[in-house]
Symmetry: C2
Subunit: 221 residues, 2 copies
DNA sequence: ATCAAAGTTTAGGTTTTGATAACTATAAGT
DNA sequence: ACTTATAGTTATCAAAACCTAAACTTTGAT
């Protein structure tokens, strides 16, 4: 079994290995993410390397092995199923479930996870639109774009990648959720803002391009 | 916050402080219960004493303080609500929920516990019939008797105190659950068995008096 | 070639939990 | 009362799981 800390390191490596094309994560990034000193990460990577969870070459960064990736996807699956369970079955607000899931993901048994999956009808996405890995460790993410990088046009919100409760609450005030269809009206790149309107609503939403970096969308005819 | 281990010690002290009339638990009993050596318990009691969770006098045993009892009842409340939630909402078998709850009780947030309580309609008892302490830390247990100490007559099963999955499965085979009404037909004190029949069923149940020690009943009719 | 940034190493520390084993107090029997 | 058995205590040690500090080494860029 992996300790809670180990699981969190695996998640962190996984998160950042998307960014770099090589799939190698520089350890400083992990250190920054987890709030520990670089030396701690070096040690931990050696440890994980000994357990065959990461491949780690000195100063070259780290990448997950197959079994490391399986472990990471398993935790992510747990996390996302738990989040969805808390929202759908227990009626919690989507802005509140992240921290709870962060704890529970390390503790809930496989059987209970399987039961949640069943109760939720083998869902594809969590409340924030993040895809849920299958039990066998397959994650399918459709092709989406960051709203921050889109031209004006009509889009569907697919996923919110920043799970700060403040930001999520702000989105709910506009009833702007994954699935929502909207028009990106105007981009003010000098002012650093963009404005959009939800279909079927008059109110205009203005947000920073920076914030729009955490909204993943797809084109909607 | 209390660590998982601390919480388990508190539960153990609570469990055994019912038995002794003085409310003082001898440390050897805790050691046996938790599977650690006596020295470890002494140390731990000093530690808990320093945190004002138990009152501990050398060689006199330990008892919970008010705040220790509050903490213990809080964990017991969590445990029992979680068990009931797993059975009622998630459809798990009553024989399977103990271990899961044993893990979750240390991790689930207060908010989630409150939500479970609400979803379950502020239940009074867990799936094994054990009373659930209120959020304010009040535990009301009706007056029950051990089946092992009853004369022949008609009774209602209130609580099963031994949560071994084997025993619970055995009870379910007879559909013998908390709430079931039955006739205690015959007591064979020499053979060490008793036999009873569930109302509305013909099959007779024979069990050891020892096993009947973990069934709490009240007179019915 | 030099320098800054990034990463590594070493040595050490904390917390939490536990064991061992010698010692001591208490209670019980003769 | 004296011995013995039982239970509990003490002091010491240990190990796992984390982490830091700070000096040192690469690496890549200017």
């Amino acid at each position: 079994m992996n300790s809670r800390t180990t699981e969190n390191y695996l998640k962190a490596v996984y998160r950042h290995s998307r960014a770099n094309s090589s799939g190698n994560v520089s350890l400083g990034i992990i250190a920054g993410d987890l709030g520990v000193t670089p030396g701690t990460v070096t040690q931990m990577m050696k440890h994980l390397s000994g357990r065959d969870l990461v491949v780690y070459e000195s100063r070259r960064g780290a990448a997950l092995t197959d079994s490391g990736e399986r472990a990471a996807l398993d935790i992510i699956r747990r996390h996302r199923l738990i989040e969805l369970f808390l929202v759908e079955v227990m009626g919690l607000d989507w802005a509140d479930v992240h921290d709870e899931a962060e704890e529970l993901e390390h503790v809930v048994s496989d059987r209970l996870i399987a039961r949640m999956d069943e109760m939720l009808g083998h869902p594809a996405r969590d409340p924030h639109g993040a895809p849920i890995p299958s039990a066998s460790g397959v994650l399918k993410s459709g092709q989406t774009r960051r709203l921050a990088e889109c031209e004006t046009g009509t889009y569907r919100l697919i996923q919110v990648t920043k799970e700060t409760s403040g930001f999520l609450e702000w989105l709910s005030e506009y009833k702007f959720f994954p699935g929502s269809i909207f028009d990106l009206h105007h981009i003010d790149s000098m002012g650093g803002t963009l404005s959009l309107g939800l279909s079927g609503q008059n109110k205009k939403i203005v947000m920073s391009i920076e914030a729009a970096g955490s909204l993943l969308v797809e084109e909607a005819g």
